[in-house]
Subunit: 155 residues, 2 copies
C-alpha cells in the first residue's frame, strides 16, 4: 500500500465513523442500527442518516436513502461517496446506480451482502472495510430481533 | 387473449388510473408528473403517491418510493403489485426486487426505460401498457423542463 492508498483508507475510515455514529443513534432510538453518510468530491459532508423503519414506521428510510434525502437536491452526484455501515441492499444499490454516486465505502458485508458486486460491475468504486464494530453492532441486533430484521430486508 | 387475460388487463388498466391521478396531482402541484400505487394480492389499495422532488425538495421521493412509503410497514410484499405511470428507474427497480414485490404494471417505457427487464429476469411479473396518456403527460413535461427531468434521473 503506497502513501496515497494509506491516506485514502484513513479518510474512508474517518467517514465510516460518521456512519457508525448514525447507526448508534438509531440503536439508541430503538431502531435498526444501520447508518450512512454522503460525502462530496471535496470531502464535504452532504448528508447523514440512519434506518428509520421503527422510529418513523417508515419502510422507505434505509440508512442510505436517509443520507441521500438529507443531502437534498443535488445537480450531480459525480465524485460523491456513499459511506454505509452495511453492504447496500438492492434498493440502496439501485439508488447509487441511478444517481451516479461514484463510490461506496462499506463497513461490512458479512451480516448481509447486498448489490455491491453489481455496482462494481457497473463502474462504481467499492471499498469494503470489514469493520468489527459494524459487524458486532448489527449482528447483536439481528440475533435479538430476527423478525424485524427480516422485515427490513423483505424476507 | 382469453377471458382471464382480458380481466387481468382490465384490472391493470383500472389500477393504472390511480397512478395517473397521482401523476396529475403532482403536475398540479408544479411537480414531475409520475405517479404510482401499491396494490395488495386481493386488490386492496395499500398506498399511492407521486414524485415529490419539487414539492418537498426531496430527491428520495420518486413515485414508487412514495407509494411504498404510504403503504407503511408490511410483513411481506408477496402477491403485491406496484403500478406506475413510468418504467421504474434503478432506484425503484431495486426497491421492487429487495422487497419481493411480485408484479409491476407500467404505464409506459417510451419516455424513459428503467430496470424492468432486469426485474423480469429476476422473476418479477412485468406488464407494460403503452398508455398514450402516460406518454403524453411526461413527454410534455420533459420538453418543458429538461434540466429538472435530468436531475430526477441523475443525468
Amino acid at each position: 500500500m503506497d502513501r496515497t492508498e494509506r491516506q485514502d483508507l484513513a479518510r474512508a475510515r474517518g467517514w465510516l465513523a460518521t456512519a457508525v455514529a448514525e447507526a448508534r443513534a438509531g440503536l439508541a432510538e430503538g431502531g435498526i442500527p444501520i447508518g450512512a453518510a454522503l460525502y462530496g468530491p471535496d470531502g464535504t459532508l452532504l448528508g447523514r442518516g440512519h434506518n428509520r423503519r421503527v422510529q418513523d414506521d417508515d419502510p422507505s428510510m434505509h440508512a442510505e436513502t436517509a443520507a441521500f434525502r438529507a443531502a437534498g437536491r443535488q445537480r450531480t452526484y459525480r465524485g460523491t461517496t456513499m459511506v454505509t455501515t452495511l453492504s447496500p441492499c438492492w434498493y440502496c444499490s439501485g439508488l447509487v446506480r441511478q444517481f451516479g454516486i461514484s463510490r461506496v465505502v462499506i463497513g461490512e458485508a458479512v451480516t448481509f451482502r447486498g448489490g455491491h458486486d453489481w455496482l462494481a460491475a457497473h463502474g462504481v468504486e467499492i471499498l469494503v472495510l470489514d469493520d468489527p464494530e459494524c459487524i458486532g453492532l448489527l449482528r447483536a441486533f439481528v440475533e435479538d430481533h430476527p423478525a424485524l430484521w427480516n422485515e427490513d430486508i423483505g424476507e
